[in-house]
Amino acid sequence: MPSNPLRERSGIGTGQKQLDRLFALLGLLAMLVSVGALLVLLTGLLMEGGPRLSWAFFTSYPSRFAEQAGILPAWVGTILVMAVTAVTAVPLGIAAAVYLEEYAPKHWLTDLIEINMANLAGVPSIVYGLMALGLFVYQLRLGQSILTAGLTLALLILPIVVMATREAIRAVPKSLREAAFALGATKWQTVQHHVLPSATGGILTGLILALSRAIGESAPLMTIGALSFIAFLPHAPWQPDFPFLSFEWLLDPFTVMPIQMFNWVSRPQEAFHVNAAGAGLVLMVMTLGMNGLAIYLRARYRKRIQW
């Protein structure tokens, strides 16, 4: 390289450049810790629990013998609890978000709701469990049931649903609303026919993320007394006679995937740890799959809005 006075004049420049590179390297390493942690979690579970995954593992009840134990009541329980959670949290959350974004006048009550919502999002999940124990289990006498669990998780994810929905609604341009109002639409008609359909992508993404959070939650369900040794299935949600649907399952005791996993991790025997890894793997596939879907949907949805 030819001698370059512009370089030489700033003797400090080169030292700074090295420091700059050093930090870039440090940053990359710090970032790799997180990426590496995720990889370690996945490969660890895959290596430990992967071989355990078989048809029987999904179709068997828990057992005293690790090799015969399975996750049937756990995944069925997870699906049923999630159904209750979704049916409760989705309409409630969307309605609250619509009110706060489209209707709410600026006064102390809406301010209170806003602050309250932000604080609820930061309340530890186990505290929701204590509330559910005192309120749902004993005051309302819903027992340690699927209904109680579903409601608890619904309340837990409500702030997330509301925040995601509000963000999606906020992204809908004002001009769209004005166009509808100009044609004589009422506020609700505008929301129903224009705002909500345009915000569907964003709302859906938020809902998936919220539900994936609920799937992995175990602490609040432990406090309401979710049993981990359940050797039976809840009542079927359907029946042969009219009205064909049955809701007896709502009050059945239950277990869910993360609690089943916790139970197996807490046992001293290594064979149960393998079961835990298997259950963890299934759980990871569920939550990461849902998150991946949400990330994908969001990316696609953003692109569509831009062009």
Partner: protein
């Protein structure tokens, strides 16, 4: 071309082209910059004058996909500063810049002015104190702020903030200062203070200023370049450009028929 570029050149721009990705923003510009004078760049919005200005301190290097062609030769060394082998940091150490909107750092007035010295490794307090005072005096701000040097810069008025940014640039003794529409966010009083300052500063530094305001260009500059659609249309003494331009387009612009 001006016939009386009497003083030695500070920089010589030769066939400069610039690309944002595949979009060509500057087309083959050749323009000498006279040392210790004020050269103004005028032209309608989007003509490329700011893009051109930002080539001088390699600001475009901050964003990916940008590409320069041609040369900007900086004197007295005669080095092409847009050559990839030249460190943009070293270029910026010598060529200061004042932006369109005042952009003080969220620090005290003192620390804003001392910033350039600190990143050059200066730590001695009395040396810093002296330089900071000098720079603030140079930017005609000292008397207004000397009692509150350690207050946050955000609390100054817009005009004061802009003069603070000038002081910040002056503190490191640059040879060359770039001004990107420095008065566009200021009121008339603050504007005239900055304009007075420019006249004083050119004793010490070479100034290149982008301005939207033709009266301003006429008032402060010695030479004026008129740009249009990424090209240099006409370059001459300011007097010639405003009284007797050679090009019809220039005449239309300076007489306010478009732009």
């Amino acid at each position: 071309m001006p016939t009386n570029l009497s003083s030695p050149l500070k920089a010589d721009v030769k066939h400069l082209s610039f690309f944002y990705g595949t979009v060509q923003a500057l087309k083959d510009i050749t323009l000498p910059i006279a040392g210790n004078h004020v050269t103004a760049l005028i032209g309608p919005s989007g003509c490329g004058k700011t893009t051109y200005l930002r080539c001088f301190n390699r600001m475009h290097d901050l964003y990916p996909g940008n590409r320069y062609e041609g040369q900007i030769v900086l004197y007295p060394e005669g080095i092409n500063i847009i050559d990839p082998s030249v460190d943009p940091l070293a270029v910026r150490m010598r060529i200061g810049m004042v932006f369109q909107k005042p952009n003080p750092f969220p620090k005290s007035i003192y620390e804003n002015v001392a910033y350039g010295l600190r990143i050059r490794g200066a730590t001695q307090r009395n040396q810093l104190d002296e330089k900071v005072e000098q720079a603030l005096r140079g930017a005609a701000l000292w008397n207004e702020v000397k009692d509150r040097l350690h207050h946050l810069a955000f609390h100054l008025s817009g005009g004061q903030q802009q003069r603070l940014c000038i002081a910040r640039a002056l503190a490191t003794d640059p040879e060359f200062l770039l001004f990107d529409e420095p008065c566009s966010a200021l009121d008339p009083t603050a504007t005239s203070r900055v304009e007075e300052l420019l006249a004083e500063l050119k004793q010490r530094v070479t100034i290149l200023i982008v301005t939207h305001n033709m009266q301003q260009a006429a008032r402060v500059s010695d030479f004026t370049a008129f740009m249009y659609q990424g090209q240099l249309v006409e370059f001459d003494t300011t007097k010639t450009i405003f009284t007797n331009p050679a090009n019809q387009l220039t005449e239309d612009y300076v007489t306010g028929r478009f732009g």
